[in-house]
């Protein structure tokens, strides 16, 4: 074979091998992380986890009931504040102000907020809410999560509304439907699956967020449904238990991590399946 061809071929094979190795490495991490989560987390998974509250230092039994409930409450409240706001803003960007200068600015800022460090959001809510109301609270935690939800939902809502064909809007307008109803009843209905996907992805994103909760919701060792006070939640509980010397706490940290990961993976998969169905239609 011509030596030039041989050299080109050698280089090609080498690069291909490196790419395959990179992909194998990437999947290896996923496998390793999931394996350690299951290996360590399953051992502690029992009914106690869901029925007992987080144990005091040194205790040998306990669960995560208060943390699970706190996480659920804050995530649900955060998403139900953030998602409607995000949808409305997304509707403005895609429908009313599609070609406005203002929308360009909002879009740009939104994209930056989308990847801004989440600990900054924690600081923001700490100064704006915790300091002014005088204490850590579940509400502050939910607000911090809402701030993270908004940009995700704005982005997906806008993208999904842009996919709705203009003929649908024109047909509705020609029948005399006012603009707001064209958007609510026609555009949003056509984009429904996509918008729901966005909300689910946003929920998955905040379900495991720790940094913004560290000094907004703080944590609470006891059973509490009072969102006006410091509230237990899974991520911060894991954070506190990981570095502890107590075996029970470490075990609960692993179990909590497994629960969060399963929830996040399930949300992601449901969102993707919904998203894929929309594309097939």
């Amino acid at each position: 074979m011509n030596p030039l061809y041989a050299a080109r071929r050698r280089r090609d094979v080498l690069v291909r091998a490196l790419c395959v190795a990179a992909a194998a490495l990437g999947l290896l991490w996923l496998g390793l992380i999931l394996w350690s989560l299951f290996a360590n987390g399953l051992a502690g998974l029992g009914l106690d986890v869901f029925t007992k509250t987080t144990p005091p230092p040194g205790a040998t039994d306990g669960g995560l009931a208060n943390a699970i409930v706190g996480s659920l409450a804050m995530t649900i409240l955060g998403v139900s504040i953030g998602a409607p706001l995000g949808m409305l803003a997304g509707a403005y960007l895609a429908e009313y102000g599609r070609y406005e200068k203002l929308s360009d600015v909002v879009r740009f800022i939104n994209d930056i907020l989308l990847s801004a460090p989440s600990i900054i959001v924690g600081l923001f809510i700490y100064i704006a809410v915790v300091q002014t109301t005088g204490g850590f609270s579940g509400y502050a935690g939910a607000l911090a999560l809402a701030v993270i939800v908004i940009p995700v939902v704005v982005r997906t809502t806008e993208d999904m509304l842009l996919l709705v064909p203009n003929q649908l809007r024109e047909a509705a307008s020609a029948l005399g439907l006012p603009r707001s109803l064209v958007i609510r009843r026609i555009a949003f209905r056509a984009a429904r699956a996509g918008v729901i996907t966005g909300v689910l992805l946003a929920t998955a994103r905040v379900a495991g967020e720790t940094a913004p909760l560290l000094f907004t919701a703080l944590s609470n060792q006891f059973w509490s449904l009072d969102m006006g006070a410091a509230m237990a939640n899974l991520p911060v509980t894991i954070n506190n238990f990981v570095q502890s010397p107590y075996e029970t706490w470490r075990q609960l940290a692993w179990t909590g991590a497994l629960l969060i990961t399963l929830a996040v993976l399930a949300l992601n998969i449901v969102a993707r399946v919904l998203g894929a169905e929309r594309k097939l239609k």
Binding site: A23, I127, T210, V242
Partner: protein, 335 residues
């Protein structure tokens, strides 16, 4: 609408009909402008969030800014326990943030782009979706899981097996010897950098894959048709075509690495001293805030907020540059 329907059914007199029609139209008009303003206010709220973040951080950081001024940036000492005048400097966390992000990116960028090339050029069609989805799921795992896994699994492994080997290998070599100076430590900048690399890897892959997908198939097919190898197509067609977007994607990954908190907090050691060795404990801006903020007050707390402000400004510029670059690729794709 229901009102019009009801009017039609009851066959009202023409005068009544006009009146109810006017009422219905007025209701529509009100609903229309209400909805318009609701959406517009929501859009403005996005700007409000940014404004609120900047405003609150500046207000919170003001006492520290007044106490330390510009010296804050190049003071290494971090002594909040000194009373009444604590000495606080940001040099340690800034150094740790930049160093860990730099190491993480030098590992994750080539590997991440390699995986993206594998996904777009080499992977058999049937594997493309599952592998792509696995990578996306990996990107969705919360960062505290990475941090925890790093603390319990990766750090012990690296410290027992990898670090001693590196220390022996580079012992006595100038520069590198100092960089890889012992003793091995669970809590180290190096371990944190690796966890960070694993965390941003799927993120970079997902963006690089999307960017590579914007290359028109015709261009690649022409190159293959001329007899180019896969590597030559990637090097001479795919990468030049997507260069701006690819750099944008990498910077997005960098923005993420700079601000990441939970993946590094457990294993970085929270030490503000700069030793020059990668195997020594250190800290990053976000790790310092995460581990000290809840127990801080006064100037100490204000200094932590100032650190947060620095981090926000830093990531803001990195992310803004990244978005501008990605936007150019999107626009080209849009036509």
């Amino acid at each position: 609408m229901t009102e019009i329907a009801r009017t039609a059914l009851t066959r009202a007199s023409p005068a009544q009909e006009t009146a109810s029609r006017a009422r219905a139209l007025a209701a529509f008009k009100l609903g229309d402008s209400t909805f318009y303003w609701m959406t517009r206010l929501a859009a403005l709220a996005v700007l409000g969030v940014l404004g609120g973040i900047i405003l609150t951080l500046v207000i919170g950081a003001w006492p520290a800014l007044q106490a330390f001024g510009a010296d804050f940036l190049w003071t290494q000492r971090w002594a909040p326990q000194l009373q009444p005048d604590p000495v606080l400097g940001a040099l340690g966390p800034i150094y740790g943030t930049l160093l860990t992000s730099f190491i993480a990116m030098t590992i994750a960028a080539p590997v991440g782009v390699g995986v993206a090339i594998f996904l777009t050029e080499l992977c058999p069609e049937s594997l493309r979706r599952p592998v792509g989805m696995a990578i996306e799921l990996l990107a969705g795992i919360p960062s505290i899981i990475y941090g925890m896994w790093g603390f319990f699994v990766l750090a012990p492994f690296l410290t027992d097996h990898f670090q001693p080997a590196m220390i022996r290998l580079f012992d006595g070599v100038p520069v590198l010897g100092a960089l890889f100076a012992g003793p091995p430590s669970y809590l180290s900048l190096f371990n944190a950098s690796l966890v960070l690399a694993i965390m941003v890897l799927p993120f970079i892959t997902a963006i690089a894959r999307d960017v590579f997908a914007t290359v028109p198939p015709m261009l690649k097919e022409s190159a293959y048709g001329m007899g180019c190898t896969t590597w030559e197509v990637v090097r001479n067609v795919v990468i030049p075509y997507t260069r701006v977007g690819l750099i944008g994607g990498l910077m997005l990954g960098l923005g993420r690495a700079l601000g990441e908190t939970m993946a590094v907090t457990f294993i970085i050691g929270n030490s503000f001293k700069i030793t020059g060795s990668l195997f020594a404990p250190g800290t990053t801006i976000s790790a310092a805030i995460a581990s000290e903020f809840a127990e801080s007050d006064g100037v100490h707390q204000s200094a932590l907020i100032l650190l947060g402000l620095l981090l926000f400004v830093l990531t803001f510029f990195v992310l803004a540059a990244a978005r501008l670059m990605l936007r150019r690729i999107e626009r080209r794709q849009g036509g």
